[in-house]
């Protein structure tokens, strides 16, 4: 009997899962509903190499799926809903596709505050089309305002400065990259961007846009100042794409709620990547991780657990425990973070001189939970293994 597996989501989590399912379940038909008119591509490069015109669209495409492609159908539509019976999805064009198993890998989308919508020259950055649109508007050497001092905002500011554009960055808080790095590096990021010529407006509240003939002309702040702008790029965070699951009975709470096996609250439905909030046994808490490496590893892990259920090969079934990892690249500085620092009660800056750049360790109840480093990949990776080993020892105890 052939099984039908639907994978929803055409980025890295979906790609890793499809590749693994094709290899492990030889008799399955796989329908990959991508929601994309492009093949799967590298998102991290969009704000970095691609924005700096150091590579082109063709360089971003992930390798094709291998195997018997007769069993794989790729559909560029989106899933509009999941049937409450939990046995079929309905696509945007009305087509209904029944399944034995479903993987939800629909990721996240950029958050765009209402006051920033509907004006020319104002862009979020989440997709290849966003990145192409931003790149196209760079030709006239615009004056750029970046809204948001998170990862996307800071990387965009760095890329725009690397291209020699005039850049102002507005952030509500008094520090940059507060959420990803938990404030561990003090003023390091402020200095880095200032030294590279970004005008920083810290504690700045955007009130509205100044508009001229439908195009952005400036950004007005709550304190009454206006910053001139011909291009505004927005890094205001993201939200998981779970709207299509409403009413389906799949439990959603800031992401699709999953157990340690990446199984959702409904039988035969799994989730992976930015959309999934799963119980991470390494930390014993629910977390939703929005990193490239996680999307890859989770897509594969979910596929293996799905294959175990379909084929009865129990050796494939495994809890997914992970120490999250991500990097950022700004002005050639390699900034890396491992672990989960939320809820830490103590940060320690390493002054031993062992690391070639700044290094921070995060602790909770005396246990190492995360580490961040700049230009220190080896020691950061060593700490990642240490976090993993300590967690394993704790579980065994």
């Amino acid at each position: 009997m052939t099984h039908r597996i639907v994978v929803a989501g055409g980025s890295l989590a979906g790609h890793s899962a499809v590749a693994e399912l094709m290899a492990l379940v030889p008799d399955a038909d796989v329908v990959w509903v991508t929601g994309e008119r492009h093949r799967a591509y590298s998102k991290p490069a969009l704000s970095k190499e691609f924005m700096q015109a150091r590579n082109e669209i063709a360089d971003l495409m992930l390798p094709g799926i291998e195997g018997d492609l007769g069993r794989l159908r790729i559909v560029s539509e989106s899933c509009a809903s999941l049937d409450p019976s939990g046995q079929s999805v309905v696509l945007g064009n009305g087509e209904r596709i029944g399944f034995d198993q479903l993987l939800v890998a629909t990721g996240a989308r950029a958050r765009m505050p209402d006051i920033l919508q509907g004006v020319g020259g104002v862009f979020p950055l989440r997709t290849l089309d966003d990145a192409v649109a931003i790149r196209e508007s760079l030709a006239g050497k615009p004056k750029v305002v970046v809204i948001g001092g998170g990862l996307i905002g800071c990387e965009l500011a760095a890329s725009m400065r690397t291209l020699g554009l005039e850049v102002t960055l507005v952030e509500q808080l008094q520090s940059l990259l507060e959420r990803p790095f938990g404030g561990a590096f003090g003023t390091y990021f402020l200095d880095l961007h200032r030294d590279n010529g970004v005008e920083l407006i810290m504690g700045g509240m955007v009130e509205r846009l100044a508009v001229d003939n439908g195009w952005v002309a400036g950004v007005k702040l709550a304190d009454g100042t206006t910053i001139d702008a011909q291009l505004v790029v927005v890094g205001a965070g993201s939200e998981p794409c779970t709207h299509w699951l409403e009413g389906s009975g799949v439990a959603v709470d800031n992401g699709v709620v999953c157990d340690t096996y990446l199984a959702t609250s409904r039988p035969a439905i799994f989730a992976a990547g930015d959309v999934a909030r799963w119980m991470n046994p390494v930390y014993g808490i629910q977390m939703r991780v929005e990193h490239w490496t996680n999307a890859s590893a989770q897509g594969r892990a979910a596929a293996r657990n799905m294959a175990a259920a379909l084929t009865g090969r129990q050796e494939l079934r495994k809890a997914f425990g992970d120490v999250p990892y991500f990097w950022s690249d700004q002005y050639g500085q390699k900034i890396q973070m491992v672990g989960w620092h939320q809820g830490h009660d103590h940060v320690e800056l390493d002054r031993s001189g062992e690391a070639p750049g700044p290094l921070a360790r995060f602790y909770r109840d005396g246990r190492l939970v995360a580490a961040a480093g700049i230009n220190a990949p080896r020691i950061v990776m060593k700490l990642r293994r240490q976090i993993e080993e300590e967690a394993r020892a704790l579980q065994a105890a």
Partner: protein, 65 residues
Amino acid sequence: MKIIVDRQRCDGNGVCMGIAPEVFDVDDDLYLHVAENIPEDPELRARVRQSITSCPILALKLVED
């Protein structure tokens, strides 16, 4: 199984090392070292393939024996 690194592209972000540290090692000069001989272990080889797909700059290529 042999891995080819495009040195023009690789920027040492260590994603490959995060997935298969047995095979990939980025040093403090951000230079990527790749193990000469990759053990036959199918689980490891699957992760090596996954590293190649996950390299955000698509700097890795695989040559199967």
